[in-house]
Assembly symmetry: C2
Amino acid sequence: MLIAGDLVPGERLSEAAVSERLGVSRNTLREAFRVLTHERLLVHKPHAGVFVAVPSLASIIDIYRVRRMIECQALLAAPARHPASRRMRAAVESALASRQADDWIAVGTANMEFHSAIVALADSDHLDRLYANISAELRLAFGLLDDPDYLHRPYVDRNVAVLELYLAGEAAEAAALLDDYLLTSERTIVAAYARQLPA
Amino acid sequence: MLIAGDLVPGERLSEAAVSERLGVSRNTLREAFRVLTHERLLVHKPHAGVFVAVPSLASIIDIYRVRRMIECQALLAAPARHPASRRMRAAVESALASRQADDWIAVGTANMEFHSAIVALADSDHLDRLYANISAELRLAFGLLDDPDYLHRPYVDRNVAVLELYLAGEAAEAAALLDDYLLTSERTIVAAYARQLPA
DNA sequence: AGTTATGCGATTGTTCAACAATCAATCGCG
DNA sequence: CGCGATTGATTGTTGAACAATCGCATAACT
């Protein structure tokens, strides 16, 4: 429900209401709340309840800083023909197909899968898990701005270019392109976010 | 108890026993177990219970890979005279004092604080949290090998050198030294670990 | 004898009900 | 109109209960 955008950031989640809604007991629900809070998707205010996290501007900027560091390093240090490159290719093709069908939410998830595959190039469980968390948090932020076309369209072709460069063995160029790409993406999101936040 | 080494990796934690030992109810304890499991300090086997995590060799190698990537990047990109440099200096001095007193556990925690401060140079909440998790996991591994002298002694002087270089504005040299330092540290740990594991 | 079924005991998974602690909003009062 | 006390609702925590599941020891069988 959180990553599907069914829940509005900032919304308070009553234990009684949600547990009845989901058909589980309060105690079981609290266990789930604890881990989701640890994943930063919920925030827990003692004696006040849990709320759907509202990604702050600072948090978004932080996320992009981490993404640039991790994704670019992963791409730079990746050996040629790493197994994860199959995932990259599959994600790119899925994005292209979804763009053809004008399904921009699918394009968005395909793009995120592409970046997740890039991180997988580093062969690190810890980085994979960190990236999964970051992605979920970013999804929450995306849910706030509703214009998937504008958000995801420009990056399909860039992903193709990054993939081509990497497959051609030009890792440094691929990383540089990715870094620039992430910077502009960050700028777009931050702008849209700042525009919408005061409202 | 986990990071203090009171619990042996692999040990099973009975809900009833631990809840009585700590004076909390089973439900409350299960909430705690859930987040500690999410932090990788415990492992949860369905219908079998939770166990103190046993850091695998693969996990240790992974941790060092992540450390090299994050710490070196943080050091490289850090602006001069970053606030966190005070933490670095304080940690180094604490380590020196503890070495004088032959308190090698204190030296170990001071060294870890030093590296935590390096990560703080990146000004990233997400990286700080990731590093806290990694540190706890590493502490668990250290608890398995009991020779704090051998594990921490060689690195006090290296930390001094890294700090000096960074403060002198030679970030690249500092990062290079740190990278080499982490590589030899990893080698030492892995060797000691592999030596002790079969027993 | 060795191996496979079987039953038992113990532990986890989950729920429910209850109560204390705490917070927020309402109401009353100066 | 501002401020403080009271009330109401929600969270925090506990204890007990029961079903589901697993590991193990016993028993049966080839």
